[in-house]
């Protein structure tokens, strides 16, 4: 069996999937949840509840604030206490709806049973409407609203749906657990999206998860899906990056500045596939998902894969898992390569939360940066084929034109450059700024061109 992989760059951090054998547990309900209005890419949602309102689990509490935006549902039943600003995990204020939990009553029409519904009855538009109404967003990290992604602009057609089960980030096991425990639901979810897009489907899973590969394969054959297969991917970070996955599976590259759909591909995470299944077949909005509690300074018996209600405070989850372990120097939400360091433990989980990761000082504390020795390891590692050392230099020199010429805007912020630099130069810190500057220049030019075009029209 040949294993698929992308053709440029990549690094091989130890995968450290310590919590892979921990089955998914359902986290108890906290006393209060705080649901953020800005938990998806795009415009924040607009709250439609007021303090004092009684809400049920699964009830809409906020409507999309724009085209690229999503519905937000109450994850619990109870009373809305306030709609106010609250800091997210990076300490930045966002509107949150505070709900005091009372019992666990669900809104009507939601099928909470575990029975598999494999028959896809709805037509394309109904499916899209349901996905939108249930607030499903991409759960691979970017939280891009799924209904937008599944509905390509006119004239663009996908020929392959790629379900991303790579889970290339070290430590994380939440996707692995759902692939092992709920393969049939994921496969049906994928089939639903296939129906919307009208194309074949490949589920990409990294080779270090043979149980997941076997489970998905048997689910596909059990359900008799013809044009769906599991693709075994090489273990290489960032295998689960959207652009890398397309290259791995389809041997096609998304042109710079274009979307995956321009290369005929749509990529969705396995957790998204599960959410799509629940939304379409069970009418269940995205109010809960699975996260991993893990780390390299956490005793094995305190590692968990939790199904939690979105909006649960991080501090509550940490407490349930036995508190912050001895020696934890950094707490990260997400994987160690792209996750965000948490500065505010009072923050709450959002749709994109996938883990609480404790790292000790030795593995995560940055070492003092030395001189660049031009070893080229950053360029070798960059999966976009960029030259981070050069971008770093151009950024410091303030050469925005040079940054654009050297494709700073193509950076996917995967972290391979900083990870692999032997001189500990904070490459990505600067390249991220460089990317923003290059993108800013491109957008400014586009806006100016548009304005000029409109001026000539008049």
């Amino acid at each position: 069996m040949n294993k698929l992989s992308f053709r440029i760059g990549g690094v091989h951090p130890a995968d450290n999937k310590f919590s892979r054998e921990r089955s998914i547990e359902t986290l108890p309900l906290p006393k209060t949840v705080y649901v953020s209005m800005a938990q998806h890419l795009g415009a924040p949602a607009k709250p439609v509840v007021a303090p004092g309102d009684k809400v049920k689990a699964g009830q809409v509490i906020a409507e999309p604030g724009g085209f690229i935006s999503a519905f937000v549902h109450s994850p619990v039943s109870g009373t809305v206490k306030s709609v106010s600003m609250r800091n997210d995990l990076a300490g930045r204020p966002a509107t949150h709806v505070e709900i005091a939990v009372e019992g666990d009553e669900w809104a009507e029409g939601i099928d909470l049973s575990d029975t598999l519904v494999s028959e896809i009855r709805d037509d394309r538009q109904t499916i899209l409407d349901k996905i939108k109404a249930c607030g499903v967003v991409g759960l691979g990290g970017a939280t891009f609203p799924t209904h937008v992604k599944l509905n390509p602009a006119p004239g663009k057609k996908a020929d392959c749906l790629i379900i991303n089960g790579a889970e290339c980030e070290p430590y994380l096991t939440c996707d692995y657990r759902i692939m092992v425990e709920r393969p049939r639901e994921i496969v049906v979810g994928a089939a639903i999206m296939q129906k919307v897009l009208g194309c074949r489907c490949v589920i990409g899973v990294e080779e270090n998860k043979p149980e997941a590969i076997a489970a998905l394969r048997s689910a596909i054959s059990e359900l008799g899906y013809r044009d769906m297969e599991v693709g075994v991917l090489k273990m290489c970070y960032p295998q689960g990056g959207e652009k890398q996955l397309i290259d791995s599976v389809l041997r096609r590259q998304v042109k710079s500045g274009c979307l995956p759909i321009d290369a005929g591909a749509v990529v969705q995470n396995v957790a998204t596939a599960l959410a799509v299944y629940e939304a379409v077949q069970k009418n269940k909005p995205l109010v809960s998902k699975v996260m991993t509690v893990t780390g390299n300074c956490l005793p094995a018996d305190r590692m968990h894969n939790y199904r939690f209600r979105i909006g649960t405070p991080l501090s509550f989850i940490i407490e349930q898992a036995g508190g912050v372990p001895e020696g934890a120097a950094k707490i990260i939400s997400g994987g160690p390569m792209m996750g965000k360091a948490i500065s505010n433990l009072d923050a709450c989980t959002v749709k994109g939360s996938s883990s609480i990761l404790y790292l000790d000082a030795e593995s995560t504390k940055r070492k003092p940066a030395g001189n660049c020795i031009r070893c080229g390891k950053c360029s070798d590692a960059c999966p976009m084929g960029l030259e981070p050392f050069l971008l770093n230099r151009l950024y410091k020199a303030g050469d925005i034109e040079g940054l654009e010429k050297n494709a700073a805007q193509d950076c996917i912020e995967c972290g391979c450059c900083l990870y692999s630099c032997p001189a500990n130069i904070p490459l990505l810190d600067n390249v991220r700024q460089a990317k923003a500057q290059a993108l800013g220049a491109i957008r400014a030019r586009a806006a100016a061109a548009k304005a000029a075009a409109e001026a000539t029209k008049k």
Binding site: P93, K330, R366, N430, R432
Partner: protein, 291 residues
């Protein structure tokens, strides 16, 4: 032997003459006609090319000055009135004298006033840090202390004070070019009049830009402006406004009477270059509030 010497001399002379002719022709052919006053103006400019005037550099300023009908819209903050007078003399324009200005750091969140809540471990760049999160203190508005302003200053006028973690502006070196204010991702640095008149150097300003509600701001930083409005009430000149829980002193209206400094409960209002008799300088007040 002498043949070789003569030949060499002849060839070299011919080459030299040819090259000289080419150079002469090129300098004639590609000569750029330029107003000689641009060079003159550029000569009297400070030559720092800091961009503080809004032009790309001193020459760009000179070109614009020569083209412009008057000098009203141009001012060199580095050279100040002296330079502008010289420029005006060359071009035969009138020039209005401007009050000298300088950069003011509007944050007093020293390590003491504003306890650290986490340890920042990324690269030492304010831009990177500010883009990542709200900062390593409870205050999401104030100085993040990585020294982008220090790096931006061409005149060596800003340095980080290691005891407070805040930048300090050297009054004698600052030219008010504004590079630091541009470099600060938090907008902590403001270019303000150096004194209430062009001659004195007394100034009063609110050393805080925290827009949080009083309680939140105070919890994050002992020296925060809590937006209580006492200063605005006591000001007889209408120089103080309160907006978004934050006080602001309009330096064009302030006469540096110092009443607001006495009134401020957190010591967020700073008075600089006052003789100690007239007004209690703010450090004393700070100590009181810290207790």
């Amino acid at each position: 032997m002498s043949n070789i010497v003569i030949l060499t001399v002849v060839i070299l002379t011919v080459v030299a003459v040819l090259l000289a002719l080419i150079l002469f022709w090129v300098s004639k052919k590609f000569r750029v006609e330029e107003d000689p006053r641009i060079d003159e103006v550029e000569k009297v400019m400070p030559g720092a090319n800091c961009g503080g005037c809004g032009f790309a550099g001193c020459r760009a300023f000179a070109e614009a000055a020569v083209k412009a009908p008057n000098l009203d819209s141009q001012f060199c903050p580095v050279g100040g009135n002296e330079t502008m007078k010289k420029v005006a003399a060359i071009l035969g324009y009138e020039v209005k004298e401007q009050a000298p200005r300088l950069a003011v750091v509007r944050c007093n969140g020293s390590c003491e006033n504003r306890p650290r809540t986490n340890i920042y471990d990324g690269s030492m760049s304010c831009k990177v840090k500010a883009a990542l999160y709200s900062g390593d203190t409870g205050c999401q508005y104030g100085c993040v202390g990585c020294g982008d302003c220090v790096a931006a200053c061409q005149f060596g006028a800003i340095s980080m004070d290691p005891s407070t973690g805040l930048p300090v502006v050297d009054e004698s070196k600052c030219t008010a070019c504004g590079a630091c204010a541009k470099a600060c991702p938090k907008g902590v640095i403001e270019i303000r009049n150096m004194g209430t008149t062009p001659r004195n150097r007394r100034r009063v300003y609110v050393s805080c830009i925290n827009k949080d509600k009083g309680g939140v701001a105070r919890k994050a930083c002992a020296a925060a402006c809590i937006g209580c409005g006492k200063c605005a009430k006591v000001c007889k000149f209408g120089a103080i406004t309160i907006e978004n829980n934050l006080s602001y002193i309009d330096f064009t209206k302030c006469v540096a009477c110092g009443q607001c400094v006495l009134e401020c409960p957190t010591g967020a209002i700073h008075a600089v270059n006052f003789t100690p008799k007239k007004v209690q300088p703010s450090p004393v007040k700070k100590e009181e509030t810290n207790e």
